[in-house]
């Protein structure tokens, strides 16, 4: 597959464009905090603020890919810490389904990633953005049907729990497994 005609800049190095969806209460605040603390991360990520990760319409992600995003980050509050109680878990469920759909479209699962970040985790969000940017840079431009697209890898997300956090409440687990 030839290089993406747009993503390859004049000097030849591939700079991905990554779209990040953040929630108003945790991950957008984490991005603000990263700014206030002057924590550096790659400029490849552009953020969209939603009220909640639960607002993420899968169409937003598909539209982003269709319009040239090389990767999409979905980001919200940690399970159990959602400002709207459990809506981030609904986002998680959608994310899991969406990853399969995206893989079916020939998009590598690495290009769609979920990052939980609390309002205090500016450093973590910056680190994750850095990591994902590197991964996508290594992957190259979105090729539609690249070799990396493997539906088997897509369904591997488990409910992540922050280190030291109390175990997710039964209600939370029920949300994910229902």
């Amino acid at each position: 597959m030839s290089a993406h005609p747009v993503a390859a800049p004049l000097d030849g190095a591939f700079e991905p464009v990554i779209l990040g969806f953040t929630c108003n209460w945790c991950s957008y605040r984490a991005a603000d905090l990263a700014g206030t603390a002057r924590i550096k991360y790659p400029p490849n990520v552009r953020l969209v603020r939603l009220m909640c990760s639960g607002r993420l319409d899968p169409a937003f992600v598909l539209s982003a890919f269709a319009q040239g995003a090389d990767a999409v980050i979905v980001s919200g509050c940690w399970p159990g810490e959602c400002h709207y109680q459990v809506q981030n878990l609904k986002a998680l469920k959608r994310f899991q389904l969406l990853r399969r759909v995206v893989a079916g479209l020939g998009i590598e699962p690495t290009r769609l990633q979920l990052v939980w970040a609390s309002a205090a985790e500016g450093q973590r969000l910056a680190n994750e953005i850095g990591r994902i940017t590197e991964e996508v840079r290594a992957l190259g431009p979105l090729g539609w049907g690249g070799a990396g697209a493997d539906p088997a890898v897509a369904g591997t997300t488990v409910l992540p729990v922050r280190e030291g956090a109390p175990p997710p409440a039964e209600r939370d687990l029920a949300e994910v497994t229902a």
């Binding site: 004049l10 700079e15 400029p43």
Partner: protein, 686 residues
């Protein structure tokens, strides 16, 4: 539905802020301005300007003037985070007669200039961000804020000095307060102290009158031995569920005479109020000045509950107030605002094993020492070793136990230096002991704090700078042979540049403060955020230090982080002042971010009904359509994302708005060039 896309041809003004050099240092502001004027003209941009400080009055006037003279119908400001100045620029638009919701603030400071260092890449990203804002603002619709009434009652959670101050300020202003306290009495940690630094006021003397005032105030309803188990609703109209644990004593009949406590045969080590060095009965009031003056019977330790006999208290109670059949009960109270003053817990010094707390009897924690030095405490104010009789000849006080230490907590607990100085002074007052203070830095920045430090220095306290390596009873050096039974403090004296082993009789660990063990659950219950340490996060650390990100929930005192009594009092009063302002207004406006249903498109599938955690979506069986209750809807938008018919719409974050923003953000490449569609996707609608 009020988010119908308005006509594609709007007159958009773009304003780019330098923020001094905060933005302009990394983003070529003029280039972004010129680029926007040229490239976004097709999206209605008729004017693009830059200003040193858009938030200044000159900056705001620029916007107002353009709205009036150029007839702008949309405004995009590229500056700081919307959490910072969205209100400012919406206000400027409103003053010029433009609906404030037709203004969009995009962040090129927190999300561009402050986090990137490459100027070309940052400028390219700023262009994309501005494009996202311009594309999005075309889809904005005029909105009106939602007005909600404010219930004048307030819930204060935690009855320490911060909560007491907040409650009294509100109650004195004439408004009802519900105060919830987990322990049998209000008073919090301050009630345990003997003296307070640096003035050495007697803690009980200044606290007790306040506690009584709360207890007797006609506007305060006290819920002690109780916890908030649930909070629902939103600012102005919260419903709190308060669980009253069974006291086994009828508070209406009890006179607080204390006979039950006297006759109760069961002695229990008091881990809470006496910090584990004193006893209480199973039927007890934690301390004589307790408010309310109603004891509780501690069920698990009561002989009647474990063996079925005893009832000594019941036999002797002169008013028949003992009621072993009492059950836990729940009440629901309606409040408009909440103050969280849930305080702190002391760092568990057992975790620092090398200091020997729990293993070496004469190692004490700061709270144990507070109780010991208190005239009303278990030793009647005598400072003695664990045997209860021997006065120490020398005492070592170790600062920063569990604070400023990556192994435990990185933060400074703020009060330990001053508390340790106070201990040194009190030891000098009560005994002839020599006192060594082992410190890293002495932090005494408050009013009259450093003067107190000088005073303690002059009193002859020895200060050794260095983090203590170990406290031990093992005598290792030949000249320690006569120190049998004493404790050796091993420390690197970093000023003398040598290792020292200092023998002492008693060690006091100035333990740090930690958030309550259930701080995370509390945060979840009240819908607020806390830091990874567990302290409540303020809406703004400097400019809004007692509000949280959730409207109507305020925090005060150590719930926000370690602080001393004056700061806790100031926080409590500040939270009360914020709430009083709202009560005076009788109503407040909320962001009109709500879901709504276009009934003509709703197929009645009810997918949205199950997604809402607030039960805000009603289903009309007769018409087979759903309807959103705007008062209950919190605006998360999960239902909007889920509606298969596109009948559900979210104001402020409509599909059209978000899609337009995505299109704008992706219209520029990483190098700032216009994006050319992928050949495979040419002609595919976005």
């Amino acid at each position: 539905m009020n988010t119908q896309p308005v006509g594609p041809r709007e007159k958009v003004g773009v304003y780019i802020c330098h923020c001094g050099s905060n933005i302009a240092g990394t983003v070529d502001v003029e280039a972004v301005r010129d680029w926007a004027a040229e490239n976004l003209a097709g999206h209605g941009v008729v004017i693009a300007r830059d200003n040193k400080f858009m938030c200044s009055s000159t900056g705001q006037e620029l916007i107002e003037k353009d709205i009036e003279e150029l007839g702008l119908s949309r405004v995009v400001v590229a500056a700081c985070s919307p959490h910072m100045h969205e209100k400012t620029f919406r206000g400027a638009c409103a003053r010029a007669g433009l609906n404030p919701y037709l203004c969009e603030l995009v962040s090129i400071r927190e999300q561009v200039s402050w986090v990137h260092s490459d100027k070309a890449a940052a400028t390219a990203k700023a262009k994309a961000v501005v494009a996202g804002g311009v594309f999005r603002v075309e889809e904005h619709a005029p909105l009106e804020p939602i007005r909600v009434p404010i219930n004048p009652a307030t819930l204060v959670v935690g009855g320490g000095i911060a909560g007491i101050t907040a409650a009294l300020e509100l109650a004195d202003a004439g408004f009802p307060v519900h105060m919830v306290e987990r322990e049998p009495s209000i008073g919090g940690h301050m009630a345990m102290f003997d003296k307070t630094f640096p003035t050495l006021d007697c803690a009980a003397c200044i606290l007790t009158p306040k506690m009584n005032e709360v207890g007797m105030h006609p506007n305060v309803t006290l819920h002690t031995w109780s916890e908030v188990t649930d909070l629902s609703g939103y600012v102005g109209s919260f419903t709190a569920t308060i669980k009253h644990r069974a006291r086994y004593i009828n508070a209406d009949l009890c006179t607080g005479c204390g006979i039950c406590q006297e006759k109760c045969p069961v002695k229990v080590v008091d881990q809470v109020y006496e910090a584990g060095i004193g006893y209480r009965k199973s039927a007890y009031m934690p301390f004589p000045q307790a408010v309310p003056k109603v004891p509780v019977i501690d069920g698990p330790n009561c002989t009647y509950f474990s063996k079925g006999t005893c009832k000594a208290c019941e036999k002797f109670c002169p008013t028949g107030a003992i009621d072993f059949t009492q059950q836990d009960d729940e009440v629901k109270v309606e409040v408009g605002n909440v103050v969280l003053a849930t305080g702190f817990e002391l760092f568990d010094s057992r975790r620092v094993e090398q200091y020997g707390y729990g293993r070496l009897p004469n190692v004490f924690t700061s709270l144990e020492f507070e109780r010991m030095s208190n005239a009303a405490g278990p030793t009647n104010g005598r400072i003695v070793l664990r045997d209860g009789v021997t006065e120490p000849k020398s005492v070592g006080i170790i600062h920063c136990v569990g604070s400023r230490d990556r192994n435990y907590n990185s933060f400074c607990s703020a009060i330990c230096c001053m508390q340790s100085l106070k201990f040194a002074h009190l030891i000098g007052e009560h005994t002839d002991a020599t006192v060594h203070n082992f410190y890293i830095d002495v932090r005494a920045p408050g009013k009259a704090f450093d003067e107190f430090y000088q005073r303690v220095l002059e009193e002859g306290t020895i200060f050794v700078r260095g983090r203590v390596a170990e406290v031990t009873d093992a005598l290792r050096l030949p000249d320690e042979a006569d120190q049998d039974g004493r404790l050796i403090v091993q420390v690197e004296d970093s000023l003398a540049g040598m290792q020292r082993r200092i023998p002492v009789d008693m060690v006091i660990l100035s333990a740090g403060l930690e958030p309550p063990h259930d701080a995370k659950e509390t945060a979840h219950r009240f819908g607020i955020s806390c830091s990874s340490d567990g302290w409540v996060i303020e809406r703004h650390p400097k400019l809004d230090p007692v509000a949280t990100m959730t409207d109507g929930i305020f925090a005060a005192g150590c719930a926000l982080g370690p602080r001393d009594i004056p700061s806790s009092v100031a926080n409590g009063a500040a939270a009360a002042a914020r709430i009083l302002g709202r009560i005076q207004q009788k109503e407040m406006s909320l962001e009109p971010v709500r879901a709504s249903v276009d009934e003509s498109r709703c197929s009645g599938c009810r997918i949205c009904n199950d997604l809402c955690p607030y039960n805000a979506i009603l289903f009309h069986e007769d018409q087979m359509v759903s309807e959103v209750n705007a008062a209950l809807c919190q605006g998360c938008g999960t239902c909007v994302a889920a509606c298969p018919a596109g009948a559900m719409s979210g104001t402020g974050f409509s599909d059209a708005q978000v899609m337009a923003q995505i299109e704008g953000l992706l219209s520029v490449t990483a190098t700032g060039e216009p994006r050319v569609p992928h050949p495979l996707l040419e002609g595919v609608p976005a």
